[in-house]
Symmetry: C2
Subunit: 500 residues, 2 copies
């Protein structure tokens, strides 16, 4: 639930909140029976006093729109049972018409984090964005101007669905740097790697199909697979990446349609699949005929030594569909990513892409072509590796200093995230409202697991998006939030400890 | 099948053709059993001598890749039955893994037209693009430079999935010009209207659902609905647009999940739904609770008088989801369109959009925002209306002069197309290869109908993309092609007329 309060407005905050909830109830966005968040939790998320939420809820209750129920909290009232309300005799009953989908996408933990992250005073460790200070803005200005000057109308037309042909060639050359040998016709340009993932899932999966995923794994992938009706088979990881032997055992009884892996600087855990396991995974795929989807957006962001070759480079049997994006190494706004796969797969994904959005913006493709062909990405990556290593170390040291043993993590050798475990049995989602109130948010670990309970004590902290000062401040705020939550728990524990 | 021959290469054309077919067979793109086009037809499509195709086919046949069968034509040979070929023991059997989809997307008539349109010497009347001479390139250069200068990194970040907030506000204001009253929260920015259509279909349709469409209608919509497993209920049109009374009768026995309509300067027919029928359609929707999807990309391109208000403006019951794009009024490359709908629908579509590609490029959205807010689109539209009316009249007059009674069409009062019927029982697809050989292509009518047979004699001619000289030349080439086809038919008729 996205609530935005304008503190500069003359409309009181509680009225703004009531207005926004009222409209969501009227539109059906909050259908009858929806439980509203507890007053205290919503207040913490929005960074307002509890009394603001209390007043808003009271106003809506007076209008008969919501009601408090013991044991169920505050819920939206069924309009047909509202005194004086009439059931609409005309019009479209929209919520009844929607295909089943939303349940796959609703993640309360992520909603909490994102609601709080929209506040200007909050430092977000919850995102996955590169450092905005490093965006090569003047380079982009020059390239776009050059593109329109030299190519003109050609870059404003429709474009082949597979991608701008010179970019497909440039990507095939770029991929050779990491050992992937492919022809331009094995490259499909997509509007960001989320689109690539959707196209792959849409081309391969039917409802009921099984997909093997790492535990933990990328949230957006879980959502896509679930939305398409797939069942999920979580495979645990350790410090050497996915436990391929566990996958191998699982295959004795179950047959996934595909294996989805982030083998390099995994999101969220930061771990990298070691070479021996890469070979074993590929052997397994070739032997069983089960394809591997390799999601590889972080490969170039290494801080100690280059990672092992991608699965797509080691593959000799055409089992790998590889997916990457410029969003993590340049910036996300251009929405450019690519898939490298056997030709038959590229052709099938192209058919799906034509359905989904016809083609990808050719002006953006030209700019990425120029960046690859002129060697501009390589020098940019060198700068990022230095900046990000510094930020990683800064946040890691600040966390150790401020939180000590309360937080456990391994220093990742690449990528964008610290993957941290709260010690002492604390649930990360219980820490989030207090952290948000103190101006810092993170991604709670539950969202990254097929079974949320497995991620209760985990949290993902991004170290690239906030600047150095913000990173240190974020650690301080986290530590204060943690202290406050622990103190409250201790108080409750004492109050409820029976006197012997 | 996209075949590209390079006439400047030293590799003979037949070898180029054989190489490309061989690779498509090897990749599985042309799986065993695929029927290759007859030699004469493929030659006409590619603009080469028949002997080129004969030589290429002969080479592939010698390699055992294809074989001629009486009554089946030339087909790709099953590798397991190829002498000496071994079935692969390892790897992924890709074609067996794909979800059912391709059959919905394969349209041989469109493939024919698009294969020929890629030749430089061909004038394409088959596309739906605005005049490239009118693209406001220098305006776009300035706007993008201003955007990056004034907004910098903010326009290179991720963006809310619903769209860049100032653009949503600008769209809500722009929509008021045609009488649509909506809040910015009822606007969803999409990556082109094809994406909007996909999101709507994905949010509402489940396999087996029925969708009412006009006959004829937009090809891309038919493809999306079919790919999602929907069944189609064609409703005929006349010169006043969709025959709403026929829809009304159909609803007595069948219940579509939605009604898809292009009420204004319809693609492909150019007809406009008259006001009285608009009201009747809305009344029907409100009474039955069946939503209307209004696809409205051509509304601003009127050449006589402004069209009646959009359904979305006349709707008082929240039954309409309206869809538009800048692709037809500016240029397609920016991939920007929008949906206006009841809030609950926008919210549901946003969830699907997050799955499909997360968000739409914010830099492009800023540029469209600036164009709308600064009144730049209105003056551009005035220029287009003059240019396009001239081109429409030029092509119409040239066709009347060159083809006379052989082609029947009504002059459309807006949009991009002449919708023409070949008289004398000739099938448009039979004219296409000869037309392609003479350097002109068009969109055969069959693709626009649920039942292709209903469109046999129809063809859609675009009059905005080719320049004036090309339009006149296209009519001349069409007339020569038609004469040649008729002469051949006459010859065959005489040769087979029994001597009495």
């Amino acid at each position: 639930m996205q609530i935005r309060l304008d503190r500069t407005s003359r409309v009181p905050l509680y009225r703004q909140l009531a207005d926004q909830l009222r409209r969501r109830i009227a539109s059906g966005e909050l259908p009858p029976g929806t439980r509203l968040p507890p007053e205290r939790r919503l207040a913490a998320m929005l960074g307002v006093n509890r009394s603001t939420v209390v007043s808003a809820y009271r106003e809506l209750a007076a209008e008969g729109l919501i009601a408090g129920h013991v044991g169920r909290g505050t819920v939206v009232v069924d309009p047909n049972r509202r005194p004086g309300a009439e059931a609409p005799a005309r019009g479209v009953p929209w919520p009844q018409l929607f295909a089943p989908l939303a349940s796959a996408l609703y993640d309360p933990a992520l909603e909490d984090a994102s609601a709080a992250a929209s506040r200007a005073d909050v430092i977000s460790l919850a995102t996955g964005q590169p450092a905005p200070e490093c965006y090569p803005i003047s380079m982009i200005r020059q390239l776009l101007d050059e593109a329109l000057h030299s190519q003109g109308a050609r870059l404003l037309q429709y474009c082949p669905a597979e991608g701008y042909p010179p970019l497909r060639e440039a990507i095939a050359r770029w991929a050779q740097r990491s050992g992937i040998r492919c022809s331009p016709e094995q490259v499909l340009v997509v509007s960001g790697s989320q689109q690539g993932l959707y196209l792959i899932a849409r081309a391969l999966l039917e409802p009921g199909d099984l997909v093997a995923v790492e535990a933990p794994t990328y949230v957006g992938a879980l959502q896509v697979f679930r939305a398409l009706g797939a069942r999920l088979l979580p495979i645990p990881i350790d410090e050497f990446g996915m436990r391929v032997s566990v996958l191998e055992q699982a295959l004795e009884h179950r047959r996934p349609k595909l294996v989805y892996t982030l083998p390099t600087f995994q999101n969220p855990s930061g771990t990298t699949l070691v070479l021996e396991r890469r070979r074993r995974l590929l052997e397994l795929a070739a032997r069983t005929g089960i394809p591997i989807v390799e999601d590889d957006p972080y490969r170039e962001l290494w801080y100690e030594a280059p990672p092992p070759p991608p699965l797509a480079a080691l593959d000799t049997d055409g089992t790998v569909v590889s997916l990457t994006t410029v969003s993590k190494v340049l910036f996300p706004g251009f929405r450019i990513g690519w898939v490298i796969a056997p030709w038959a797969v590229v052709r099938q994904l192209t058919l799906v892409k034509q359905l989904v959005d016809l083609d990808t913006n050719p002006l953006m493709q030209w700019a990425i072509w120029a960046i690859l062909e002129r060697g501009l990405l390589e020098s940019h990556l060198e700068e990022l590796r230095v900046t990000y290593r510094e930020r990683r170390d800064l946040l890691a040291n600040a966390l150790r200093r401020e939180l000590g043993d309360a937080l456990r993590f391994a220093l990742p050798t690449g990528g964008l995230y610290l993957w941290c475990e709260l010690t002492g049995g604390l649930r990360a989602r219980d820490l989030l409202p207090e952290a948000a109130r103190r101006g810092v948010v993170f991604a709670p670990g539950e969202s990254f697991f097929v079974d949320p309970a497995a991620g209760r004590s985990w949290m993902r902290l991004n170290f690239t998006y906030p600047n150095p000062t913000a990173l240190v401040e974020a650690a301080r705020r986290l530590s204060h939030a943690l202290a406050a939550v622990r103190e409250a728990r201790e108080f409750v524990r004492r109050a409820t400890t029976p006197i012997v």
